[in-house]
């Protein structure tokens, strides 16, 4: 029974990682940019909701609905102001740009909010702590909500990419931006839209983060590493792969913790390294992922 419980916890945790990883995967899939500020952008989402909840009597879920459009705009502006220019200078420059952005965000957050940690746990009532008993297992309600949100977001993203005009344009631009321009697609606006979607979903992940655990200005990089590992395990650029990668990472960490509580993070890293070292890892690197 313990191990069944471990597997369930691992899958639920995987839902959270998938949510964090989704935007990272989308940005790489569409424009080959690895956004090193993704974790910090998620933490910005967490802080924004925390500020609204603390300054007003607005409940966290309404605050989240207010914050997500802000994240969208932030993503759009970030592409136009920063990434557009750096992308033109080659593959490596956006990596440096987002690295710099990550440092700026962390220090601005430190300046405004101090290094104290915060959490939304206390303001979400019983939701974050309640659980459902199923056949002797105790399953966290919030964990299930996180996984369900991840599945809905990833399904939505998949449907958006395969069914809508904007989604088709995004896939076409991802495959060949020059030709996309020649069939009337404004590649710049497609890229900005992809960044906006990625940052919005990242912000959503940050809000879930803020409810599951405490966060402070330096939380971002750790979350980035987990998200990055989930993306690599699942294969860059595919929404379903991202969900799978998140779940594999979650399972590895929970199984590690079961073996020895200290092995929680270690087992996740080992699975990540194993995937990179496997023949499939080589394929990932060569293909560079497709949508």
């Amino acid at each position: 029974m313990t191990w069944v419980n471990v597997l369930v916890q691992g899958v639920l945790l995987g839902g959270f990682y998938a949510l964090l990883a989704c935007g990272l995967s989308l940005m790489f899939g569409v424009m080959r940019i690895i956004n090193l500020a993704h974790g910090d952008l998620a933490v910005i989402g967490a802080y924004l909701v925390w500020v609204i909840v603390n300054q007003t009597s607005i409940p966290p879920w309404i605050a989240a609905l207010l914050v997500l459009p802000v994240m969208w705009v932030a993503g759009y502006v970030m592409y136009i102001l920063l990434l557009e220019r750096s992308r033109r200078a080659g593959m490596l420059v956006p990596l440096l740009t987002t690295f710099g952005l990550a440092i700026v965000i962390e220090n601005v957050l430190l300046q405004i909010f101090s290094p104290d940690d915060h959490s939304l746990l206390s303001s979400t009532g019983t939701l974050a702590t309640s659980s459902v008993s199923v056949g002797g297992l105790s399953i966290s309600t919030f964990g299930m909500l996180t996984l369900a949100t991840a599945v809905v977001v990833l399904t939505g993203l998949q449907l958006f990419l395969s069914r809508t005009t904007s989604g088709r344009q995004m896939r076409a631009t991802a495959e060949d931006p020059d030709v996309a321009e020649l069939v009337g697609i404004n590649a710049r606006s497609v890229y900005a839209k992809a960044t906006a979607i990625a940052v919005t979903i990242g912000g959503l992940g940050g809000i879930f983060l803020a409810i599951r655990q405490t966060f402070d200005p330096s939380t971002g990089p750790t979350q980035l590493i987990f998200a990055f590992e989930a993306v690599v395990i699942g294969g860059f650029g595919s929404p379903w792969g991202t969900l799978l990668g998140g779940i594999v990472l979650g399972l590895a960490q929970v199984i590690g913790a079961q073996v020895n509580p200290q092995y929680f993070v270690l087992f996740g890293h080992l699975v990540f390294l194993a995937v990179l070292a496997s023949p499939r890892g080589g394929i990932l690197v060569r293909r560079g992922g497709t949508l």
Binding site: T165, R171, A172, A180, E181, L182, V183, G184, I185, T290
Partner: protein, 242 residues
């Protein structure tokens, strides 16, 4: 007023000058063949017209409007569509998606997926297949269809027969003949002189980035074209008759 007026275009790739002061006028409804050896600057000229390559000097006017500074995706909505060299389909998208992605959001378009499939019946059974699984001829048909979905007033075709089996070339040209008959203005780059002269009403021959011969297809002799094509003459001659 001419549909397209290219004036004194210079185009460069770094230090290499691919197009040297080329001027070209295309009238509405004509089929204009752009011929010349490899490296003559034909593809670059088409890319300049489509907006995919920014010229170093000169202007491009479409329908009387200077479009030199207008980006490629906006030229598409003005009515310029390029079928790029090597077809360049979106390999991960299906045939239908390749066509639809070019239609944008306009609902009133003359060209629809069904109409494209009508003129390229070979694509009918491939509709939901990914573009990477198509044969060369089918890919070329999809690439032309994709350009047509932009509802062009000016269709630029770059080496549509390149790398295709003779049978596939014949099929593609058969469909093109229908398009040309329907009044679409076409500029085509073609290595195969016979094919080019058979469909074109006017011919421009380029050599080393410059225009060396221009005239109505019917009035130019094979010898004149061959001489211009290989640069046999010492002084470039431009025939301005029509």
């Amino acid at each position: 007023m001419s549909l397209l007026e290219v004036r004194a275009i210079d185009a460069k790739y770094g230090l290499l000058q691919a197009v040297r002061s080329v001027s070209l006028t295309i009238e509405e409804g004509e089929t204009h063949a752009l011929i010349g050896a490899n490296g003559a600057g034909k593809t670059t000229l088409l890319r300049v017209i489509a907006g995919a390559h920014r010229p170093a000097a000169g202007t491009v006017a479409f329908d009387g409007v200077d479009i030199t500074r207008i980006p490629a995706h906006k030229r598409v909505s003005l009515g310029i569509a390029l079928v790029p060299e090597g077809r360049r389909l979106f390999p991960g998208l299906s045939v239908e998606e390749n066509l639809k992605v070019a239609a944008g959001r306009r609902g009133d378009a003359a060209w629809t997926v069904d109409r494209v499939l009508e003129i390229f019946p070979m694509l009918q059974s491939r509709r939901t297949q990914s573009a990477s699984t198509l044969s060369g001829g089918e890919q070329q048909a999809t690439a032309i269809g994709r350009a047509l979905m932009c509802n062009p007033r000016l269709l630029l075709l770059d080496e549509v027969s390149l790398g295709l089996a003779p049978k596939a070339v014949a099929a593609v040209y058969e469909s093109l003949r229908g398009l040309i008959g329907s009044g679409t203005t076409v500029v085509l780059v073609e290595q195969d002189l016979g094919r080019a002269l058979a469909v074109a009403s006017r011919v421009t021959c380029m050599l080393h980035g410059a225009v060396v011969l221009e005239g109505a297809a019917a009035t130019l002799t094979r010898a004149e074209i061959t001489a211009a094509y290989f640069g046999v003459r010492s002084s470039p001659a431009v025939r301005a008759d029509s």
